[in-house]
Symmetry: C2
Subunit: 345 residues, 2 copies
DNA sequence: CATCATTGCACAATCGATAATGCACAGATT
DNA sequence: AATCTGTGCATTATCGATTGTGCAATGATG
């Protein structure tokens, strides 16, 4: 077979048909009428291009047009279904507008995140969607101020001008905590993720204010953890279970941590919800099938992905149709069986 | 702030320093000595480039070098942790060799898959890793024969020349089936995925030959299903549970289908493993935490991803160091509690 | 028959980086 | 002084597609 080389250029097609590359280009880009290309010529070009499977070289096109029709996506861990789902909807939404996705997995490492950011930038992506890791987003801000369209999803920076889409973390945490209180819980531990990032701050604030609203004191000893991962959840739960008094409920601010919590609880031969109640922020598909179906806060990550793309394209095409570029989506509280009502005890 | 426009070209840097773009290009690509650029000049270029944050435009570079340092990845569903994990390791392995990943989610649609393939090709990716959907891979073969490096992962085409990495599906299915037989099961249903694709064929063959080895007849009525998704697993299980005689065990050839099976079993108020045993091909992180920890066949998808990248780069760089370009990885059989020993009954 | 508008397409420059080639100039050699 | 060898860099063409402009040929008009 013939190699896919310079035989596939519109220049080749042009020579082959006795036309100029200009004409072919204009026909294939649908500008035939605008440039008064005869309709016989146009049709002939189209059919020959299809027959020989010739399509304009995207790299050359990108260079000339200063546009790549590519969006960069940086997520902490694509193997995490939360980000997987997000990525999936971002990809399909982008595809609708003829954009492709350049994927970077920051691997929960801020160094890799920064590196990825510059990588995407030097690849001339038209815009970047990022779910950042850390407390600081100065590298994003720098790029953004230089004019590169960016949208932040999930974790965000409240004091930063960059557009973002996230859940209404405060309200969700508030409601979940209230639910625990309504079920008679008084000592409620909170396993937080990375402190200092907007996401965590909002969730912890929701937790605290729910306690305060119901006259319960906030004991910061019961706000533990510092990382959104399974191991942190495991370790902190191990420690929490040794406390005296022991909390009657644990509110995990992330599903990975909830996972770690579950294995710690199991190891201590305790049971959910008989010995301890558990609620998870974030929900995974299988939560309903766990040994104790887990009560959880579900985020609309599909919607989040679509909105992120729309906001990004809005920036790229300079339409600026969004009045508010900081979007918070409502969450859904899925009550299952991991919380016990201990009001009577 | 200044926009990231033509100020960031090496041409600008060259004029700014009173040099030619050629010289700057050679210095920045580490070819200073080869082209006898003076060391003072070289150092000055490097430091100025760093100061002004100027880096060669990748698009122009790609055009000139006819190479994009980008690999295309097509998966059926990136939200599925199996593919998420695969993607993650592909990305990090590719990154080590300075390649980026252009992600396509075929959404379990063969039309989208074909479209994605041409999209990646027209984007001039240097190679493609694909986990195909269907029985036919003619579109891959066509591209491959035209010289585009391709590696197939997970699902594959046995009669096709394209390199692939997959698990030893036959052996894994054989062992799992034997395990059921050793536990006294005689009527073992098999929920298959898409029939006809190499993956399914191998797994079903393993299932059948294990039965035959132990003198059990293969009843094709108990080989059901036609799609690797949750709904198929649910529907087929619903039907299986109405059969007379009812199977005492179900071997699901995919985790999504196992998932559907679990929900069907739950709905019928039956229990795993007391009423029916269950084994899943593919394993997910949370299987150990399910109401009945699920016995499953774990694939080495991390390794699979790394090998896929290595085989692809091998093709791209025309090293051809692989003697055998069809790789089958061993699996791990994780025995938990979803299979009951009914030998005595 | 001369002028003019219209149709149909090509020329040349451009996007930014790279590679083959070539040309000055310094110092060394005879 | 004339030639030679190296050093240090610039000139120019190229990758493939796109765009403003321009130039023929055709038919219409007076």
């Amino acid at each position: 077979m013939e190699p896919l080389s310079s035989q596939n250029t519109i220049k080749y097609l042009a020579e082959h048909m006795g036309l100029s590359a200009t004409t072919v280009s204009r026909v294939l880009s649908g500008q035939a009428k605008r440039y008064r290309i005869g309709s016989k010529t146009a049709k002939a070009v189209i059919s020959e291009a299809a027959r020989l499977d010739i399509t304009p070289n995207k790299t050359a096109r990108n260079l000339r047009l200063q546009k790549t029709n590519t969006l960069g996506l940086i997520v902490p861990n694509i193997a995490n279904p939360f980000f997987g789902t997000l990525a999936r909807h971002i990809e399909s939404e982008a595809r609708k507008s003829n954009y492709s996705i350049l994927l970077c997995d920051s691997g929960e490492s801020e160094m890799v995140e920064v590196e990825s950011l510059w990588l995407l930038n030097s690849n001339n992506v038209d815009g970047i969607i990022v779910s950042p890791l850390g407390q600081t987003g100065s590298h994003f801000l720098e790029l953004y101020k230089h004019g590169k369209p960016i949208v932040i999803v999930d974790r965000y920076f409240p004091d930063m001008d960059i557009p973002y889409v996230t859940s209404d973390n405060y309200r969700a945490a508030f409601e979940a905590t209230e639910y625990l209180i309504f079920n008679g819980h008084r000592i409620i531990a909170c396993i937080q993720g990375l402190p200092g990032c907007g996401l965590t701050t909002d969730r912890v604030r929701g937790y605290k204010e729910a306690l305060q609203k119901h006259g319960l004191s906030v004991n910061t000893d019961f706000i533990v953890g510092d990382q959104y991962d399974q191991q942190r959840g495991y370790i902190e739960t191990k420690l929490l279970l040794k406390r005296n008094p022991r909390p009657t409920a644990i509110f995990s601010l992330g599903s990975s941590m909830a996972f770690g919590a579950m294995s710690a609880i199991l190891e201590e031969h305790l049971r959910v919800p008989d010995d301890i109640s558990l609620i998870s922020f974030d929900e995974l598909q299988y939560f309903a099938y766990l040994s104790t179906p887990l009560t959880a806060i579900a985020q609309q990550n599909a919607v989040m992905g679509e909105i992120a793309v729309k906001m990004l394209l809005d920036q790229i095409e300079s339409k600026d149709t969004f009045r508010d570029r900081h979007i918070m989506l409502p969450t859904k509280f899925n009550i299952r069986q991991s919380v016990k009502n201990i009001s009577d005890s």
